[in-house]
């Protein structure tokens, strides 16, 4: 059985006044049916552009998908025309964004927006759409659904808006939801509520989920498989336990040591990654992490390390992967 979604060697670029930004530079990953896959990495590494590429929502003309394939149920989304793509978007693949305020229409009520999506994709009349809208709000834990349907986005709290976004994403029973930083703007107790809700619903309904986040804790709590991105590339992939206990890339190792943890003794000094991420218009023929890497050898300046299997399904893009990972302490 082939995977639900297969991204193969995806390349997306933007032309800007300072040069060509290689925002996504050869990304390959799969999502199985019903699986939760995480994409982690710091600001600007290409997480959102990868997601927008899958949805074919990259801002044109500056942005352009210049290579690769995106196979969804074995159909290459990059071959579809605008109409065909519109039918897939929202129906088979739905997206939840970080800031729901920008993706909800401020002048339409919640009810109108939910029913519009339903009527666009499903053959339902207004009464049926209204009933389904009420049902959906109940599903995402909004109690007085009828009253809420008449409200506008600005009447709702950030957490409520994100619940509405999830309801909209679920409305046409998609096979895949892409959630781009769905809880980054929310308080931690609300974040926990929303993540529990998404976990519960995706499991119950068998929906696959790509969760994009910069929060390593969120990944540890919710994802099966993890992709770590840096400078437009996936530099490490594996199941969550492998990635956290036995990282095989210096960047992943660095990320793990940068965050203070509630479950570990206080007072130890953090070990930051030196420097800052590279300018994506100025990548050279070596490893993009090299200027910040404490493991770098001569070869790293000359050859870009490919993402290869280093340990039964655990992949790393590092020439020195054998020397990495030993010094990460496992939590007791």
């Amino acid at each position: 059985m082939t995977a639900l979604l297969q991204i193969q060697d995806l390349k997306t670029q933007f032309s800007t006044s300072s040069g060509t930004v290689k925002a996504v530079d050869g990304v390959t990953y799969d999502v199985e049916e019903g699986e939760t896959v995480a994409v982690v990495g710091e600001s600007g590494c290409g997480k959102s552009v990868t997601a927008l590429s899958i949805m074919r929502l990259v801002a044109e003309p500056a942005g352009k998908i210049v290579g690769g394939k995106i196979l969804f149920q074995d159909i290459n989304l990059l071959d579809l025309d605008i109409e065909e793509m519109r039918n897939i978007r929202g129906k088979d693949i739905a997206m939840v964004f970080q800031e729901p305020m920008t993706s909800l229409n401020p002048v339409l009520t919640i009810g109108m927006q939910l029913m519009e999506t339903l009527q666009q994709h499903l053959d339902v009349d207004e009464t049926a759409a209204q009933a389904r809208a009420v049902e959906l709000l109940g599903l995402v834990g909004i109690s007085d659904a009828e009253r809420r349907l008449a409200q506008y986005p600005h009447n709702l709290s950030g957490g409520m808006r994100q619940r509405v976004m999830i309801a909209m994403a679920l409305s046409c029973e998609p096979k895949l939801i892409i959630a781009d930083e769905p809880t980054t703007a929310l308080d931690v107790t609300i974040q926990a509520q929303i993540l529990e809700l998404m976990k519960d619903l995706t499991r119950r309904l068998g929906v696959a989920l790509i969760i994009i986040t910069h929060n390593l804790g969120v990944v540890a709590r919710y994802a099966n498989r993890v992709n770590v991105m840096y400078a437009g590339k996936i530099i490490e992939r594996g199941n969550a336990r492998e990635i956290y206990h036995n990282p095989k890339h210096p960047y992943t190792l660095g990320l793990l040591r940068s965050v203070p943890r509630l479950d570990q003794p206080r007072g130890e000094r953090l070990v930051p990654i030196v420097g800052h991420p590279p300018d994506l218009t100025r990548l050279d023929g070596g490893c993009a992490f090299r200027p910040r890497c404490t493991f770098a050898v001569d070869r790293c300046a000359r050859e870009i390390p490919p993402l290869v299997d280093v340990d039964g399904g655990h992949l790393s893009a590092c020439w020195e992967h054998e020397n990495v990972g030993l010094n990460v302490r496992k939590a007791s």
């Binding site: 710091e42 600001s43 709290s157 957490g159 409520m160 308080d187 931690v188 107790t189 609300i190 974040q191 926990a192 509520q193 529990e196 910069h214 929060n215 390593l216 804790g217 969120v218 990944v219 540890a220 709590r221 969550a240 336990r241 956290y244 206990h245 660095g254 990320l255 793990l256 040591r257 940068s258 965050v259 203070p260 943890r261 509630l262 479950d263 206080r266 000094r269 953090l270 070990v271 930051p272 990654i273 030196v274 800052h276 991420p277 939590a331």
Partner: protein, 339 residues
């Protein structure tokens, strides 16, 4: 009922000189109605009777969900907001009683670093001028050459190349801009710095750099911090003591280790349980008690205990009785009748 007992209970510290005392602080923002004659129809109770002290050399953390009154507390201390009630006593001086000139001198000693490094830096000014501006305004260093030298020194202290003095904010990364904000705050040689979400917007690898910088500076210049943040892991890492706020009130206050090892207030417990730890095994073994509901409006806070609408331990009396902040263990203050 509005005069809660907690207004007068001030958590005392046994050791060290007290630098800042906040006593019964309230800040209520009026919500006005009417076009010609503005009249207050209600009040946002942003801060509703809080008291705490900060000792010299100490870092006190202020945590809580957005809107609970953390920034307003900081702004009241800086006298950027006029307190509705209560006192801010800095180094023995009640800040509301002193003249403008005296307040200006006080402001040299108290600096602030904000969350958003971009919006707090003037985009048309060069970095060097941004850092030198407070020295210029306060007439600290009238000599231009000496000011330039001081700017170079400050950039170096904050881990930036002195050549950055000639750049503009948009040419720098978020982490670099945050360092500029810190350099600017340090230019006045302050003794007390309020960090309001100072590392919240930064990526983890850069956040760790700035956290280490704040620690180094604290040691090097014997600084006192009020560290306002919502990230509990970061607060635990940096702070000696921590106050937890909810709807304008302090609900728990203790030494860091004590608070995180032995949280006694149901809200603190809920907050800690919500923070995910970056380890799948730890996460799988942890109990996740997700607190229900959302933070109520500060315009109409619940009567009794402000947390009772979401509290898993609430009993009938919680709806009517305001719990006072009580010292349940040495230095550990909790505002919960059931704790």
């Amino acid at each position: 009922m509005s005069v809660a007992e907690s207004d007068t209970n001030i958590p005392q510290q046994a050791l060290g000189d007290v630098l800042l005392q906040v006593k019964g602080l309230k800040k209520h923002f009026p919500i006005t109605d009417g076009i010609l004659v503005k009249r207050a129809v209600a009040h946002v109770k942003a801060v509703d009777g809080i008291s705490f002290e900060v000792r010299k050399g100490e870092t006190l953390g202020l945590v809580g969900e957005s809107g609970c009154g953390k920034s307003t507390t900081g702004r009241c201390i800086l006298q950027l907001d006029q307190p509705t009630e209560g006192e801010i006593i800095y180094d023995g001086v009640d800040l509301s009683t002193i003249s403008r000139a005296e307040l200006n001198r006080m402001r040299e000693r108290i600096q602030v670093i904000f969350q958003d490094p971009f919006s707090s830096l003037n985009p048309r000014m060069k970095i060097g001028d941004i850092i030198a501006e407070p020295m210029h305004v306060h007439g600290i260093e009238p000599d231009a050459a000496k000011r330039r030298a001081r700017v170079s020194e400050l950039l170096t202290v904050c881990g930036l190349n002195p050549r950055f003095a000639d750049r503009y904010p948009h040419e720098m990364s978020g982490g670099q801009r945050q360092r500029v904000g810190i350099a600017r705050a340090l230019s006045m040689r302050p003794e007390f710095i309020i960090c309001d979400e100072a590392v919240s917007a930064l990526d983890v690898s850069i956040q760790a750099q700035v956290i280490n910088l704040l620690e180094d500076l604290r040691e090097q210049f014997n600084l006192t911090y009020l560290f306002i943040a919502h990230d509990l892991s970061v607060v635990r890492h940096l702070c000696h003591r921590v106050a937890v706020m909810y709807l304008g009130k302090i609900v728990e206050l203790a030494e860091s280790d004590e608070l995180f090892d032995n949280p006694m207030h149901p809200y603190t417990q809920a907050l800690l349980s919500a923070v995910p730890v970056p380890d799948p095994d730890v996460e799988a073994a942890r109990e996740h008690q997700v607190v229900k509901g959302e933070i109520p409006s500060p315009i109409n806070p619940p009567p009794g205990c402000v947390f009772h609408t979401r509290c898993p331990k609430a009993v009938a009396s919680c709806q009517t009785d305001v719990p006072s902040l009580r010292e349940l263990r040495p230095g550990h203050w909790v505002a919960c009748t059931e704790a």
